[in-house]
Amino acid sequence: MIRIISILVGLFFGVALAWSFVVGAVTFAQEGKPETAEHAFHEYPKDLHLASDGAFGKFDRQQLQRGFQVYKEVCSACHGLKHVAFRSLEQLGYTEPEVKAIAAGFQVPGLDPNTGEQTTRPGVPTDYFPAPFANDIAARAANNNAIPPDLSLITKARHDGGAYVYSLLTGYQDPPAALLQEFPEAAPGTGLYYNPYFPNLNLAMAPPLMSDGQVTYGDGTAATVEQMSKDVSAFLVWAGEPTLEKRKQTGWPVLGFLLFATVLAYLAYRSIWAHKKAKH
C-alpha cells in the first residue's frame, strides 16, 4: 500500500515538473535568452597582485601608507571608513604622535562642553573615521542622488575586492560605439559615468583619480593614476580585514601542529589495529 501511494506521489511531482519543463523549454526555444547590456559589456576585474595575497602574504606597509594618503586626500571627501579607528593606523607603521596628528586632522562629532550643543571637535586616536555627510539625504543631495558607500568593508563586499576597486578606479572610459548602437538605453545619463567594471555599467562617481601627481607621495614614488589606484586598493584590503596578516601567520603553526598530531594518530591507529587486519 505504501508503495502504491509513494509511486502516485512520485508521479504527481514528476508530472508537475515535466509540465514546468515543457513550458519553459518551449518558451526558451521560441524566445531564446534576452541579451542585456550588462551581460554583453560587463567586464571581470583586471588582475591585481598585492603583497598580502597568497598563503604567505604580508602587508606592504609602505604601500598601505601611500594608499592611506590617497584615501585621506581624495576619497575621504565622499566616503567614510567607519569601522576603522585612527589607532589602528599604527599597524601601517605610523608612530603614536603621527597617529595623533592624523586623528586631529579630522573633525569628528562632539558636544560643546559648555552648552551641550552638537558640534565637531578634532579627532583623537580612539575615534573612528567620521562619515563625510551628516546623513543619507545630505549624501544623496551632494552626489547626484547616489550614496557613496562606506569603504571599510568594500573589498570584502565585492567579488575579487581589491582587484575590483583597482579596476573600477582605472576603468573609466567612453561608452563603446557598439553599446550605444545596440543598447541606446544603456548610455550613461546625466551625472553618470561609463565603467565596464561596475555591475550595471554606469555609476554616479566621477572618476576620482584623474591626473598623475594628484597626491604627492612622501616616499618619492611617482603618483601615477595607476599607482594611486593600486595603493588605495591595497589600503582598502587592509581596512576590510586588518587581521588578515595575523590570520595567515596563525594558520601555519596550527596546520603544522595538526599535521604532526595526525601522523601520530595514524601511527597509533595502525599499531592498535595491526593484529585485527586481514593477513594477506
Binding site: S6, I7, A16, F21, G24, S152, G240, R247, L258, K276
Partner: protein
C-alpha cells in the same frame, strides 16, 4: 548493552567504585563509547562521520557561546557588533570565522553521513529509529543555520530571511498572516532578529538532545557495516575503545587539517560578499541565494515554474521542497530489499551512482546559479529524477533486483574464512532482518 560478549565495566580505583555505586556515569560512558561497546571490525572511513558530526556540534556550541558574549541582537547595531568582533575582540576574527566555516564543515560532514546511510541502507530494520531521528536532526540543523545566517544582519541575512519566511505566504488563506506572525512584522526587522537569535541559541541544545536519542537508538542493534551482514559472533566485533577511538582520532585529525586550511586561508570562500553590506530593505540584491548547503533544496523550490492542477507554482515549489526531505522519513518502508549494502545490489547501485548522485550534483550547482535558463531546465530534470528515485525507482528496483551473494559473516569478509561458516546449516545468501541478540 547490545551484545552478550560486551565487556563489563570494572572500576579498579576505590573512588571509581564508589562513584559507580552512587551514579554510574563512567559505566554509561564505558558502555557507550568505551571498551564496553562491541562494534563490527570491518567499518570503513564512512563510519567516521557520525563522530565528526558530534565534534562539529560541540565546536559550534563553543564558538557560538563566545560570539554571543560580544554580539548584540538589535537591528541597529547587529552588523556593527559582528565587525567589532572581527576587529576589536581578541581572537574574535578567529571565533567568527570558526563559527561561520564550522557551519559549512558541519553540513559537509552531515551530507557525507547521510550519503553513507543511503548507500549502505543503514535506514533499514532494525535501525529505522536511528535514521528517523537523523532526519529530525537534519531539519533542526537547517533551521538553526538559517537563523544563524540572519544574525550578522547583512544584505543576504535580510533578504534571505525575507525570501524564506515568504515561502510560508504561499500557503492558501493563512499564509500571509502566518508570515507576519513568524516575523513579528510585515518585513524582517528587530522583532525577527531578536527571536531568531533566541532560537538560534536554543536549537543547538535541542539538537544535542536529539543526538543523544540518536546514539541511544544506535546502541540497541549496534552499528551496521559495509557488508550489511549483521554481527554473528564476538569474532565479528572489536571493542569501540581502543579500536575505533584510535580510528576516529585519526579521522578527526584529517578533518581538522582541512577545516583549518579553509578557516585560516580562505575563510570567506564559502560566504557571499553581499553579506558584508549592511541590511538595506530599500535595495534588493541582484541574486538572492542562500548558503551553499541549501542549494539543492533551493533548486527544487525554483524548479516549479507552472501552476499545476490549480496549485499555484510557488506553492508547488514549497510543497516539493519540504517533500524532498520528508521522503527520507519513508525510506525504511519504500526500500524493501532484504539486502542492506549497495555493494551487493547491482541494480540499485547503478541508479545510485548514475542517477541520484549526478542529480544531486546538478541540484547543488543550479541552486547557487541565477534563476535563468539553462539552469531552470536542468533543475527541473534533476528534481524529477530526485523524486522518481526515492518514490518510484527505489520501491520497484528493490522488489525486482537479484542481489549478489553475501559473505557468510563479517569475519569471513575480513579474513577470507570463518570457522563457524562450515558449522552453519547453510550459507544463506540473503539476510533476513535479524536484530542483534537483545540483552541489556
Amino acid at each position: 548493552m547490545s551484545f552478550p560478549w560486551a565487556k563489563e565495566y570494572q572500576p579498579s580505583h576505590p573512588t571509581m567504585r564508589w562513584l559507580d555505586e552512587k551514579l554510574p556515569l563512567p559505566r554509561l560512558v564505558y558502555n557507550a563509547i568505551g571498551a564496553g561497546y562491541p562494534v563490527p571490525r570491518n567499518l570503513n572511513y564512512f563510519w567516521n562521520f557520525g563522530v565528526l558530526a558530534g565534534f562539529c556540534l560541540m565546536l559550534q556550541i563553543v564558538t557560538g557561546i563566545i560570539l554571543a558574549m560580544h554580539y548584540a541582537p538589535n537591528a541597529l547595531v547587529a552588523f556593527d557588533s559582528t565587525e567589532h568582533i572581527m576587529r576589536d575582540v581578541n581572537w574574535g576574527w578567529m571565533m567568527r570565522y570558526a563559527h561561520a566555516n564550522g557551519a559549512s564543515a558541519f553540513f559537509v560532514v552531515v551530507y557525507i553521513h547521510i550519503f553513507r546511510g543511503l548507500f549502505f541502507s543503514s535506514y533499514k530494520a532494525p535501525r529505522e529509529m536511528i535514521w528517523l531521528l537523523g532526519v529530525v536532526i537534519f531539519l533542526l540543523m537547517m533551521a538553526t543555520a538559517f537563523m544563524g545566517y540572519v544574525l550578522p544582519w547583512g544584505q543576504m541575512s535580510f533578504w534571505g530571511a525575507k525570501v524564506i519566511t515568504g515561502l510560508f505566504s504561499a500557503i492558501p488563506l493563512v499564509g500571509e498572516p502566518l508570515q507576519t506572525w513568524l516575523l513579528g512584522g510585515f518585513a524582517p526587522d528587530n522583532a525577527a532578529l531578536n527571536r531568531f537569535f533566541s532560537l538560534h541559541y536554543l536549537l543547538p541544545f535541542v539538537i544535542a538532545g536529539v543526538v543523544i536519542l540518536h546514539i541511544w537508538a544506535l546502541h540497541i542493534p549496534g552499528s551496521s557495516n559495509p557488508t550489511g551482514v549483521e554481527v554473528k559472533t564476538a569474532a565479528d566485533t572489536v571493542p569501540f575503545h581502543p579500536y575505533y577511538t584510535a580510528k576516529d582520532g585519526f579521522g578527526l585529525g584529517v578533518f581538522l587539517i582541512l577545516y583549518c586550511a579553509v578557516l585560516f586561508f580562505a575563510p570567506n570562500a564559502l560566504g557571499h560578499p553581499d553579506n558584508y553590506i549592511p541590511a538595506n530593505p530599500m535595495s534588493t540584491p541582484a541574486h538572492i541565494v542562500p548558503e551553499w548547503y541549501f542549494w539543492p533544496f533551493y533548486a527544487i523550490l525554483r524548479a516549479f515554474t507552472q501552476d499545476f492542477l490549480f496549485i499555484p507554482a510557488k506553492l508547488m515549489g514549497v510543497i516539493a521542497m519540504f517533500a524532498s526531505i520528508l521522503v527520507w522519513f519513508f525510506l525504511p518502508w519504500l526500500d524493501r530489499s532484504p539486502v542492506r549494502s549497495g555493494i551487493y545490489r547491482p541494480l540499485f547501485r547503478k541508479f545510485f551512482w548514475f542517477g541520484l548522485i549526478p542529480a544531486m550534483a546538478v541540484l547543488f550547482y543550479c541552486g547557487g546559479a541565477p534563476a535563468e535558463e539553462p539552469f531552470v531546465m536542468l533543475s527541473q530534470i534533476a528534481s524529477l529524477y530526485y523524486f522518481a528515485h526515492f518514490l518510484i525507482i527505489l520501491p520497484i528496483v528493490s522488489a525486482i533486483e537479484r542481489p549478489d551473494p553475501l559473505p557468510y559473516s563479517i569475519t569471513e569478509k575480513v579474513l577470507g574464512e570463518d570457522e563457524n561458516s562450515a558449522l552453519a546449516p547453510s550459507a544463506v545468501p540473503v539476510e533476513k532482518s535479524d536484530a542483534a541478540p537483545a540483552a541489556s
